[in-house]
């Protein structure tokens, strides 16, 4: 294992570096990324949809100049899709080619066996790829809550020892500890064992100042006070009890929409007219429209 990557000295450094790649982290996010790098531990990222969980992994990869390897989880994901698989068709072809060449098959079976269970016939899947990588990599295991508990156990082995055993080839140990991010939408309680091995990071909706910064960075050309107004209205909408609160990406979309429409100052009318960018349920839109038109008292 080598530690070639330049080390970041403090959480503040991480924050600055992430800013350099247009990811605005808060203290919590920067702190956890810093620790993950220092402790060599995977990070379990949880939070509402659209708060930049996946983006965090991408940005960290960009920041450290690493390759991003992504494992998208889904129900039914198994070893052959996550770890490795023997290239069955290629093996068949190989056996057949040997038969044709030697006409009758003089080579011993063990030669063939050794041959067809070797690297050229191995299909590496994301987990194995991340472990075998020579260059620095960031492994993103996206939506880990979608896999079954059994598959989680597979992840555990990889994440705790950073090694994979392939019966025909032996154990492949990581040449370096990759940075690992697991994201979860919390549709299922993850196993205690997995949580124990990870650093936990909950990314919530950003506070006003941070969201305003995000909007300014992501929507070039937006005026300061429009950005301010946008995030305040979004915060106001999030405080309502809705089916689906607007995410950060929807805030950005909304800011873009307003900019395109040439709206300088959002009044109640402009807000209700463009609410469908922020909210995706009819009932939510109705409720928010009604609330925004009232001066509000609680």
């Amino acid at each position: 294992m080598t530690d070639a990557a330049p080390r970041l000295a403090s959480p503040a450094d991480v924050r600055r570096a992430l800013r350099g790649v247009d990811y605005l982290a808060d203290d919590g996010i920067a702190g956890v990324v810093f620790l993950a790098e220092r402790l060599g531990k995977p990070v379990l990222v949880e939070g509402p949809a659209g708060t930049g969980k996946t983006q965090l992994a991408k940005s960290v990869a960009e920041m450290t100049g690493s390759r991003l390897i992504r494992l998208q989880c889904y129900e039914g994901l198994d070893e052959s899709k996550a770890l490795y698989e023997w290239n069955y068709k290629k093996q068949l072809l190989r056996i057949q080619a040997q038969r044709v060449a030697e006409d009758g098959g003089a080579g011993s079976w063990s030669d063939v066996e050794e041959d067809i269970f070797s690297e050229p016939f191995l299909l590496t899947r994301p987990l194995l790829e991340a472990i075998r990588a020579e260059d620095p990599v960031v492994l993103l295991v996206d939506e880990v809550d979608r896999v079954e508990v059994e598959t989680e156990a597979l992840l555990l082995e990889v994440l705790s020892d950073y090694q994979v055993s392939i019966p025909e080839l032996g154990t492949v140990a990581a040449r370096q500890v990759p940075l690992v991010f697991l994201t979860s939408n919390n549709t299922r309680e993850l196993s205690e064992a997995l949580k124990r091995r990870c650093l936990f990071l909950h990314i919530d909706y950003p506070d006003l100042a941070r969201e305003r910064e995000i909007v300014s960075v992501r929507v070039p050309g937006i005026a300061e006070d429009l950005a301010e107004q946008v995030v305040r209205i979004v915060a106001s909408i999030r405080s309502l009890e809705l089916k689906k609160a607007p995410s950060v990406s929807e805030t950005i979309d909304w800011a873009r929409t307003l900019l395109l429409l040439g709206i300088r100052h959002v009044d109640a009318e402009a807000a209700t007219g463009t609410l469908n960018v922020l909210l995706k349920y009819r009932s939510d839109i109705d409720k928010a429209a009604k609330e925004l038109a009232a001066p509000g008292s609680r």
């Binding site: 959480p11 620790l35 402790l39 124990r196 650093l199 936990f200 107004q229 305040r232 001066p295 509000g296």
Partner: protein
């Protein structure tokens, strides 16, 4: 947690930190565990390891390092934060109670922020008057000056909280005393009046301004709270304070005794919970049993193995979804429980073939339509109380009459696929029990369950007659909190 002494501090922590930190950490983890947050030994060691890397001088960095290693669920965050504030509070001589005059420190800070040179004639005499303090506070709120707010909060606590050393009261008492003097509502009203006098802006702008002020007032409240906590810790030590501010985790909050704040926490906790349950129920059904052989798919798959059907393919099983009848007592004492259970069952309605809800107090009425598409369960329940025919005589729970009325009006619709849930504490105000209805129901329905929000030890005390109903139910469950409710609903699917 091994004792602090087991770790030579120099080995685990950067030079300069003492074994004191390890000892504090051990107590801290102990308190987390007593509050119900599971912290394993490995996590504890991770936390120590993490502390080696973060700058110990930065409180926030330490906080996030501990949170990342020790707290593995979002719902535990608030509890963690409170305990952290207590154990890693700023400490120093100036917080010690009885240190006279208590508010000098804060006033120096205020003066520094105002740019007033500190008078050399000793601080005590030129202390701020109450009016000045209020004006400064108003200005700080108007400008959103955080540093000033914090400083003023310290002055206010020193002056108004009237904290006495060694007095074993909780922080909320002092918080109340301080806030009564500051009067946040009046401050808000004044700020809004000023805003109105300036004029301009439509309703939306007014709303945003109002919310901004509310946020700042909330910040003030938090600052006051933090200051009180700091002083309490300096006086009584972290363990004692942590015990007095200990709050239950959202999943452990009791429905029947939840405060307003706790109810809000419950409301927040229930949305992710239903999502989780829905996925779990769907998955359980799908994985339960394999369906019949899918011949076409099997043949197709066999082609890659040279025509040998190595891997047979099965059709997904046909799930049979239960039909749910919820019969809920919505009288005052158990209303909160009924509300959350109905909400839970309703947001899971896609997992059941049909959900119908019936509410009763001493009369009974079907309320399915009120709840259908209701965004706000609280409002729906209020409408039910006002409009549905749930009261027969006096509005005190009468299970006997309610059950008999239910049997007369809806009994015929209970079928073999129906699961009946009765929600209530079975406190019948000494009326007839009407238990025969349950016997009839359990004969017709697939199953009948009774959920009681009271602790098991209270059952069958006073006017509770659960024992008369229990023999006719397939199960009687204690559902005092979300955790228990979740467990029950999961086995229902």
């Amino acid at each position: 947690m091994p004792e602090g002494e087991d770790f030579p501090p120099g080995m685990l922590l950067p030079a300069g930190s003492s074994a004191g930190l390890l000892a504090t950490l051990a107590d801290f983890v102990g308190e987390l565990r007593s509050a119900g947050i599971p912290v394993s030994l490995t996590e504890n060691l991770d936390a120590i390891e993490a502390l080696r890397h973060v700058p110990l001088g930065e409180r926030d960095a330490v906080k996030y390092a501990l949170a990342a290693t020790l707290v593995k669920a979002d719902s535990h965050w608030r509890v963690f934060e409170t305990i952290f504030e207590v154990f890693f509070a700023y400490r120093g001589e100036q917080y010690r109670l009885g240190h006279e005059p208590g508010d000098e420190e804060g006033e120096e800070l205020v003066d520094a922020l105002l740019g007033v040179p500190r008078g050399d004639a000793g601080g005590g005499m030129e202390a701020l008057s109450a009016e000045q303090l209020a004006e400064l506070l108003l200005a700080a709120l108007r400008d959103g000056d955080r540093a000033m707010l914090d400083a003023l909060a310290r002055v206010a606590v020193a002056r108004y909280a009237g904290m006495e050393p060694g007095r074993p009261v909780g922080g909320t008492y002092y918080l109340y005393r301080t806030l009564r003097q500051l009067d946040p509502d009046a401050l808000l009203a004044r700020l809004l009046d000023e805003q109105a006098a300036v004029g301009g802006g439509d309703e939306l702008d007014q709303r945003l301004v109002r919310e901004e002020y509310e946020r700042r007032l909330e910040a003030l409240r938090k600052a006051v709270e933090a200051e009180i906590r700091r002083r309490l810790v300096a006086d009584r030590g972290p363990e004692a304070v942590a015990r007095s501010v200990r709050r239950p985790l959202p999943e452990d909050i009791e429905f029947m005794h939840a405060s307003r704040e706790e109810l809000a926490a419950l409301r927040k906790a229930i949305a992710p919970l239903t999502r989780k349950l829905a996925v779990r129920l769907a998955r359980k059904r799908r994985r339960g049993r394999r369906g019949p052989l899918d011949f076409r798919a099997t043949v197709r798959k066999s082609l890659s193995a040279g025509g040998v059907p190595v891997e047979p393919v099965f059709r997904p099983p046909h799930p049979s979804k239960p039909e749910i009848f919820v019969v809920a007592d919505i009288s005052g004492s158990v209303a909160a429980f009924a509300r959350f259970t109905l909400q839970l069952v309703y947001s899971l309605s896609s997992q059941f073939s049909r959900v119908r809800a019936f509410a009763f107090i001493d009369g009974v009425d079907e309320v399915t339509d009120y709840l259908k598409g209701a965004e706000d369960m609280g409002a729906a329940i209020q409408r039910i109380n006002a409009e549905a025919d749930v009261i027969w005589v006096d509005g005190h729970s009468d299970y006997g009459h309610a059950l008999e009325a239910f049997w007369d009006r809806f009994g015929a619709e209970v079928r073999a696929r129906t699961t009946v849930l009765v929600l209530g504490d079975a406190r019948n105000n000494y009326h007839a029990s009407g238990a025969w209805v349950l016997a009839e129901l359990s004969r017709r329905a697939r199953s009948v369950y009774w959920l009681d929000p009271e602790p098991r030890s209270y059952w069958d005390t006073g006017d509770s007659i659960l024992a008369q109903y229990a023999p006719h139910c397939d199960g009687v469950y204690e559902c005092r909190n979300l955790a228990q409710l979740e467990r029950f609903v999961e086995q229902l699917g």
